[in-house]
């Protein structure tokens, strides 16, 4: 394991301190807890709280700021934070208008955040939750825990964040978040594994010509392996899987997120985006906005995911609304 760290046990602590020291205008450490909260929080708005295991940076601390999150709770690498951590963050940012938890669909995240919600509710705080589950690699059948939440989570932060910033009530912010979740799907792949610092060795190994299709964001194996092919072929395969969900129709306006998993050169992400744009155009979709970059990473994993969000007027306006956070700034 070759990493620029001091000690696997301190990596989250030092990262959080580095984030707040680097961006004091945006972020403040919640004293004594593994959360960053918005430095100049607007009073009198619904608060958005997200988080999960660390190792997905800039998720989620990078999205704390105007028009997105109010707090991000950071667990150990790839491990959901504990209920008390989430509970403290909820209490810290609730401004009396209630709190929406944005949870990625993993058993651990859901259970820990739910316990926190119960604790906060017992204090009389109005807490609602939404669970993102954009990853179509994983079937949403009744006998599994359903699709995973991956990069699409960022679009929930963006759009629900804009709604909250506009002064909407909790029920309305939740409705918008759920609308995003209902209208977005993602699919990813990996070229190489990643190494959890405390584990000290890669999560899996791939042969020189092998890629993992349906990769999640925790170094957990994907749905299957295959021989590497061209960027266009792989991308077509991912987009086809998304389009097979049949929620995108010719004439629809969509937002696209080409997400790097951490070690993918931006050059390659743009080669991918070039293909994605062509495929979607051919399907008659209108790309209102495309994001390309490392939004939801998996440490130093190489690979990418594609996320497609179908927009209506309401979602479009909120997507394009301004945001100002360390990792997501938009006029």
């Amino acid at each position: 394991m070759k990493k620029i760290i001091n000690n696997p046990d301190n990596v989250v602590e030092e990262m959080l301190n580095g984030m707040t020291a680097s961006h004091p205008q945006y972020l403040t450490r919640l004293e004594g807890f593994d959360s960053v909260i918005r430095t100049n929080k607007k009073a009198d708005k619904v608060a958005l709280v997200s988080g999960g295991g660390s190792g997905h940076e800039p998720s989620h601390g990078g999205y704390v700021g105007r028009g997105m999150l109010d707090a991000a709770v950071a667990g150990p690498v790839f491990t959901s934070p504990t209920p008390d951590q989430v509970y403290e963050a909820i209490k810290a940012v609730d401004a009396g208008k209630g709190v929406l938890l944005v949870i990625k669909n993993y058993s651990g995240d859901v259970m820990n955040f739910e316990m926190a919600a119960e604790m906060a509710a017992a204090d009389g705080i109005d807490v609602e939750k939404v669970i993102t589950n954009d990853d179509v690699a994983v079937e949403n059948s009744t006998w599994t825990i359903g699709r995973r939440g991956i990069a699409g989570t960022i679009l929930v932060h963006k759009i629900a964040g804009a709604k909250a910033e506009s002064g909407a009530v909790l029920a309305d912010v939740k409705r918008i978040a759920e609308k995003v979740i209902a209208n977005e799907r993602s699919m990813g792949m990996a070229l190489s594994p990643c190494t959890v610092p405390a584990a000290g060795k890669p999560s899996f190994t791939l042969a020189e010509n092998e890629i993992e299709i349906g990769m999640g964001i925790h170094g957990e194996p994907g749905t299957h392996r295959e021989a590497i092919r061209t960027a266009d072929e792989i991308t077509q395969q991912l987009v086809d899987k998304i389009l097979a969900e049949k929620i995108y129709n010719s004439g629809d306006e969509v937002a696209v997120l080409i997400n790097g998993l951490g070690a993918t050169p931006l050059m390659e992400l743009y080669v991918v985006s070039n293909k994605v744009q062509a495929v979607l155009q051919e399907k008659g979709l209108h790309m209102v906005k495309t994001y390309v970059g490392n939004y939801m990473t998996s440490l130093e994993m190489a690979g990418y995911s594609v996320t497609l969000l179908k927009l209506d007027d309401e979602l479009k306006e909120l997507l394009l609304a301004p945001a100002d956070t360390p990792a997501f700034v938009q006029y």
Binding site: P76, T79, P83, S107, M111, T144, A198, F204
Partner: protein, 205 residues
């Protein structure tokens, strides 16, 4: 022989198996189960350490449960945390634990895990060690066995349960994303549950 000591033995057994459990989780999960459980029990043992030696078992279990919940994270944190909290119920105000009480504690723990995680037997989780353990325990009681004998067959059943998890597809937890590819691998949580039961048995023995 105190509750405090028992927890120490159990916790140390888990901590010792940190890398083994992590390796199991790398194969079909995200490679942190051992790290999570070790972090949890290190924190818990610090908390139980300072308790008076004669602290009653129920209180100790509550400390363990709360401690795990606030230090493990992931899926196993709420599950094991709830399990220990619930196990504290049946032994409340008991100074001596007989086979029936032990069985009730195990069942309360299982119920807690199911309340939180909504899993059944056969989904390739910690329940595939714990439910067979409870069933074996019940048979022991029916056959008028001692607590130690019951626990012995529970451990055996849990170990068999771990073996069984190798043969099935996961439908709960991260391993469920793998579908068929989870076959051939034993479940990390079933393994940690069995490590705990085994340590407890060895301690009492």
């Amino acid at each position: 022989m105190t509750g405090k000591d028992a927890v120490k033995i159990v916790g140390q057994a888990v901590i010792e198996k940190k890398m083994f459990l992590t390796d199991l989780d790398q194969a079909i999960g995200d490679g942190d189960h051992g790290i999570n459980m070790a972090r949890g029990f290190e924190s818990v043992l610090q908390k139980t350490e300072v308790l008076p030696d004669d602290t009653d078992i129920s209180s100790i279990l509550k400390t363990v449960g709360m401690g795990l919940i606030s230090s493990v994270g992931g899926a196993s944190g709420p599950l094991y945390g709830t399990a220990f909290l619930r196990a504290a119920g049946p032994c409340k105000d008991k100074t001596n634990i007989d086979a029936n009480t032990a069985k009730a504690m195990l069942d309360a723990a299982i119920k807690g895990i199911q309340d939180r995680g909504k899993a059944q037997k056969g989904e390739k989780t910690m329940l595939d060690a714990l439910i067979p353990a409870s069933e074996a325990f019940a048979e022991g009681i029916k056959a008028d066995k001692t607590l130690l004998e019951c626990l012995s067959s529970a451990v055996q059943a849990a170990q068999d349960g771990v073996e069984y998890t190798k043969t099935i597809i996961a439908t709960k937890g991260r391993a469920s994303y793998l579908a068929e590819r989870s076959i051939g691998h034993q479940d990390p949580g079933a393994t940690s549950a069995t490590i705990m039961l085994t340590a407890l048995y060895n301690y009492i023995k």
